[in-house]
Amino acid sequence: MEEKEKNQLSRRNFLAIATGAIGAVIGVVMAVPAVAYVIGPALQRRTDENWVRLGSTSKVELGNPTLFKTIVENQTGWIVTEEEVSVYVVTEDGREYIALSNICTHLGCRVRWISDQGQYFCPCHNAAFDELGLVVTGPPPRPLDRYETKVEDDQLYILLGG
């Protein structure tokens, strides 16, 4: 009698433990992907630092800033947006290239190269920058932003998102 009762108890316990164990396994199998799923995009580092091709170096005239325009795609989630990036490229010797953003560092207006005066001119507050982007007159707090450049097979590249 006592033996039988013991057996019944162990069967009951076995089933309880087995149920708990299977439940725990299912719980872990669901919970691990669920947590990864929720926090995944938060853990992704921005890896949009990329070299963008502007065009042939032969287009750049010595001592005369040349405007390049290129379309850059930005992806956030499933939405891709296109952004036009305009860059002035300057070279003194045809070997070293300086790429300058055409966005004024004051309030973000677009600057324009005036070759007569040898200056970039910002129409918003009459700011002027010299050929290398240094502030000549006006309110801008710092020189024009520069992009890192490289030349491969006579093609000019700039580093975006760095």
Binding site: M30, V32, P33, A34, A36, Y37, V38, G40, P41, G77, W78, I79
Partner: protein, 219 residues
């Protein structure tokens, strides 16, 4: 849970009585077919969890629905798994609840005093069908679009009321952004509410009345 804490909590909220009523209730000698209802309940729980997770990324508009589903499947870690469980779980829900129903029919378990349990079960089956129908449109791919065109047209051929029903389902003449949004709202708000109400009632009756035994040969 330690016995001490269990007692402390039981004195205050009386959980042991509830636990015993749910999990330690007396049942007749039954077979494995009696697990089909619990299996359906388990899959329903999985559907709830994975469905809530899917809404974290899914956007129910024509310009984002498909792309957000592709994003979930290919870009989000574990997204393919969550979506896969939800998609396969939907089929499992229908299959298991129908098998559960067949068992109840074959064993005559719907008879007195369990008629209301049966009625609520029918409500649950209809809600499950509704989930399947509305959920199928949400990925907004060709299969989803044309399946819903066909599905709503089937509703449309009913005499007299067919045309208005079709228009109400689609939210207008054509299948559009309006259709997608109302299918989504129905899928994540209306049907879960209905399901929870019917499920609560169904479970209450199962516990209150107990389950029927396997009928004898001479019965």
């Amino acid at each position: 849970m330690s016995v001490g804490f269990g007692n402390w909590l039981d004195e205050r909220i009386g959980w042991r009585k509830v636990w015993d009523a749910i999990f330690l209730r007396k049942i007749p000698k039954v077979n494995w077919l009696y697990t089909l209802g619990s299996a359906t309940l388990f899959v329903a729980l999985l559907q709830g969890i994975t469905g809530i997770l899917l809404t974290i990324y899914y956007v129910p508009t024509p310009d984002h629905a498909y792309d957000s589903v592709v994003f979930i499947t290919t870009q989000v870690p574990g997204g393919w798994f969550i979506r896969g469980v939800h998609s396969w779980g939907a089929s499992a829900m229908v299959l298991l609840s129908v098998l559960h129903m067949v068992r109840v029919i074959m064993y005559g378990a719907y008879k007195y005093p369990r008629e209301v349990t049966w009625f609520t079960g029918v409500g649950l089956l209809l809600a499950t069908m509704g989930f399947g129908f509305t959920g199928y449109l949400l990925p907004w791919d060709q299969k989803a679009y044309w399946a819903t065109i066909v599905g709503t047209r089937i509703a449309g051929v009913a005499p007299f009321i067919g045309e208005p029903i079709l228009r109400i389902m689609r939210g207008g003449e054509d299948l559009s952004a309006v259709t997608l949004a109302r299918f989504f709202g129905t899928h994540v708000w209306v049907l879960p509410t209905i399901l929870l109400l019917f499920l609560g009632f169904h479970m209450y009756l199962v516990i209150r009345l107990g389950i029927s035994a396997v009928p004898g040969k001479e019965e």
